[in-house]
Amino acid sequence: MVNSNGEDPDAAKARRGRNIAIALGLVAFVIIVYVVTVARMGANVLERPL
């Protein structure tokens, strides 16, 4: 049994799960880099010349 893309339903479900995991991983990485940047700069981020 295959879906309209010619893909087995189990394979499609597994692919969807992998894609979601990659997306969550990338979002987590972006958030971590943002939080690390804020933590490293600390209060200095508010004292920069505008």
Binding site: A11, V35, V36, R40
Partner: protein, 322 residues
């Protein structure tokens, strides 16, 4: 190349859980535990967010090492009962995908560690990953009976990385934590291999009992145990551990030595009785002493690091001997 022929038993698509298995979550949890201990024992004020990110980087780095190990060792893993269910030999994940995951996570964890804390910690993390994935996995494991002795350095470094992440330095006490795990590794793994040596022999891995025999292995376990216990007690005299640590390391050390002595006097690892060969961890009569030491070694290491961690979190005073 040695890792070329991993069997593929099934053709089902890889799930995200299979990739998580590649990261060896149980090993990762041990690495996190020792790294946190190093980070806390350093005693330096560190932003909690940066401390958490440092621990995350060490965990991901350890996972990356595990993925690279599973990629390269798929041929060995397929021959051993303990490891043949791993994602690559079981055909759940392609070897190339496991390698790619390992490389990508290695790069991300090292770079993030450098940005979040300092480049000494990042360098140590990179060294640990390369040491485990290249020096141990690709070289030592298939070549010498000293594979887990030298390779044990990779498992011993996380507390030093944690310490470096907190302070940017690696003083004597950080290396003392490393030395404890380093010296603990041989008796721990050799005790295990005394009752799983047939698996290693089948896979062609030159573990000590396979090459040198059970008697020689039991002797070396005793020697390493005698060297290990003083190193485990040492932090109580270097300003790292307090009274509780001295008690735990001392009493636990005596139990460790007693179990190592019993193992030395036993026939563990010799002449298997085929009638009792039911499963991987079924203990043959002579191997009970090996299992006892193996089990206690895990408890001993956990108690040592938990006590240190507890003392530092609770602000207990270290012993002032010198």
């Amino acid at each position: 190349m040695a890792m070329a022929t991993a069997p593929t038993n099934s053709a089902r698509a890889a799930r995200w859980q299979d990739y998580v298995q590649l990261l060896k979550p149980r090993v990762m949890s041990l690495v996190v535990f020792t790294a946190v201990t190093g980070l806390v024992c350093a005693g330096a004020p560190i932003n909690p967010v940066l401390g958490a990110v440092a621990v995350l980087c060490i965990a991901v780095g350890a996972g990356a090492s595990g993925a690279l190990n599973m990629w390269y060792d798929a041929d060995i893993d397929a021959k051993m009962r303990r490891t043949r269910g791993r994602p690559v030999p079981a055909g759940k994940v392609q070897g190339a995908d496991a390698a790619a995951l390992g490389v990508v996570l290695s790069l991300f964890s090292v770079m993030l560690m450098g940005v979040a804390t300092n480049w000494l910690a990042a360098g140590l993390l990179a060294f640990t990953i390369v040491f485990y994935a290249v020096v141990y996995t690709m070289w030592l494991k298939r070549w010498t009976t000293q594979n887990i002795v030298i390779g044990g350095l990779a498992g011993a470094l996380p507390p030093v990385i944690g310490w470096a992440a907190a302070t940017g330095t690696t003083p004597l006490n950080a290396w003392l934590l490393c030395a404890i795990i380093f010296m603990w590794t041989p008796p721990h793994f050799w005790a295990l291999s005394l009752y799983t040596s047939e698996d290693y022999a089948k896979a062609g891995v030159p573990m000590m009992p396979v090459v040198k025999g059970a008697s020689s292995t039991r002797t070396q376990i005793l020697v390493y145990s005698l060297l290990l216990v003083p190193i485990c007690v040492a932090p109580a005299f270097t300003g790292l551990g307090g009274v509780a640590y001295l008690a735990v390391s001392g009493v636990g050390g005596l139990v460790f030595l007693l179990l190592a002595w019993r193992l030395f006097r036993s026939r563990a690892g010799e002449a298997a009785d085929p009638r009792n060969d039911d499963g991987l961890y079924d203990v043959r009569a002579g191997a009970r002493d090996a299992r006892n030491l193996f089990a206690f070694s895990i408890l001993y290491l956990a108690l040592l690091f938990a006590t240190l961690l507890g003392e530092h979190l609770l602000g207990a005073k270290p012993l002032e001997v010198f």
